[in-house]
Amino acid sequence: MTLSRSQKRGLVGASLLALVLILIGTIATYFGSKYQLRIVYGSYVSLMVVLALQVFMGNARITNLSHSAFMGIGAYAAAICVTPIAMKKISLPSAPWGLNAFALDPVTSGVIAIAITAIIALLIGLILVRLSGIGATIVSLAVLVIVHSLFLYRTDIFKGNQAFFGIPQVFTLTSAIIIAVIMVYVVRGFKESRWGIALRASADDEISAAAMGVNVHRLRLLAWVLSCVLLAVAGIAYSYYLGTISARPFYFNHVFLTLAMLILGGMRTVTGAVLGTFIISFGLEWVRWLETGPTILGQKFPEVLGLSGVVLGSVIVLIMALRPGGIMGDREIEDFILKNTE
């Protein structure tokens, strides 16, 4: 297989991003406190979500609001498969279909969770990809609400707002770094592939793309399912590290947070996804510290609860107003070091 020039550039770009991810992760592993490790782990999971979001939103240019739901499906499916039977007899005493009577190893559970998410994504995708623009976005919002309601009210399976505990904590920060690095290659590879180019073309001009033989619906469905599979992986990474999940983290706040990350960095590029995730992940930690009313240079600041929400909202408003393409616009990381013409 020969790579085109833009694919080679993509490989360089993905490798540069991979280096950055490995560097940040390694520094955190060796120098971070336990609390800081959790924050960094969280930012790598967010990164997986934002990368997954980029696959669909960045190439098909359709705003998706259901991504946290698919992350949740992946997380719960894996959790239900992997949690030991003794644990499930306590936490899910009345689970249907014998869900509390079996337990699988983490790898098999992960594969099953990904497969389940992919099947659900495929079924929803068949409807969603036929719509474009606002129609598709509203459907995705409805999916988010439906899935969340199921998580909340089927307490016999998902435990609702209570914690689903006892998931074996088999992941470390290193696992998250490896997965995030692989994802960067997958997502960039998709963008530069024949399908990625054709999908971006159809987002520019659906009719012209169709006249050139681009099957828009099929490509959107491909990107959608790939995106949801990556979201399932993010959900699995989340549950395998924390050991405890509940319905709340897979709802609006998370949708909004990850969307802000992608919009800030720039949804059209993979570099933008990485940049936006880290700026907001680490920036928000700093804002949370400000929220608590710290003393800076002898000056006591007042406690401002809810500051992080205001900041997040303001970031979206300002970016949309001043730089709708996000920080990166159309530039990928390698554009800063490689010449533009050969």
Partner: protein, 232 residues
């Protein structure tokens, strides 16, 4: 090469073209002329398979009217759409690459050839196509269509919205294609220019063919020319 019989084209419930028939012989250039809304672009869309139609479309002695778009492209039909419509957020090179999506073996060679023909496109190969000038976009749109090495090229209003000097350049390019025996179906509002290149022309109005003939018959018919050039 292309024989269209009794073609009706629909946009949803609206019938835009009412049972037209025409022929494009191999190696010839045929124009569809007529005012806005005559059904020219609808006809092109029906041939590529983007618009719904009834009637027969024969291409190289084969009925293609029920085939999906991508099969028609594989069989050798390519279109340069109205209003240029390059993919604004893709680079020049990605635009070309997409044009050759069904011709992967020759893509790199063809791209290199086009960059030789139009050095300006080579210079801007990594630029977003949306940042090109109108004339450059039109060149790119035609080059993109030719990336699939088609047997027939459908050109939809290549002069639309371009400065006269640029229009002359574009028509020079079409003339060179014709000299290389490319079969061309040209849709134009600018009848004078189109007739200079065409072997045969059809005049469309309100979805019907109201006149047809060689460029000479059109040129010598003052009443027709007056209508075509909008001087009536």
């Amino acid at each position: 090469m292309l024989v269209v019989q009794n073609l009706n084209v629909f946009h949803g419930p609206i019938e835009a073209v009412h049972g037209i028939s025409f022929t494009v012989k191999e190696g010839s250039c045929v124009s569809l002329l007529g005012p806005n809304g005559a059904g020219k672009t609808s006809t092109i869309s029906a041939i590529t398979g983007v618009a719904k139609s009834t009637g027969r479309i024969m291409f190289a002695d084969e009925d293609i009217s029920t085939l999906p778009v991508e099969i028609r492209i594989r069989k050798g039909i390519a279109v340069s759409p109205e209003g240029r419509r390059v993919f604004a957020n893709l680079s020049v090179k990605e635009n070309l690459r997409l044009g050759g999506a069904y011709n992967t073996a020759n893509v790199d060679r063809l791209i290199a050839e086009w960059f030789e023909t139009f050095p300006i496109l080579a210079e801007r190969r990594d630029q977003m196509a949306g940042t090109l000038s109108g004339g450059e976009q039109q060149m790119l749109a035609i080059a993109r269509a030719l990336m699939s090495e088609p047997r027939i090229l459908l050109l939809d209003e290549p002069s639309l919205g371009l400065a006269p000097k640029i229009v002359t350049q574009i028509f020079e390019m079409i003339k060179r294609l014709k000299e290389k025996r490319m079969t061309i179906l040209l849709v134009e509002q600018n009848a004078t220019l189109a007739l200079r290149l065409s072997d045969h022309a059809y005049l469309l109005n309100n979805g019907l063919i109201v006149a047809d003939g060689t460029a000479e018959t059109f040129g010598s018919n003052d009443a027709l020319m007056a209508e075509l050039t909008g001087l009536a």
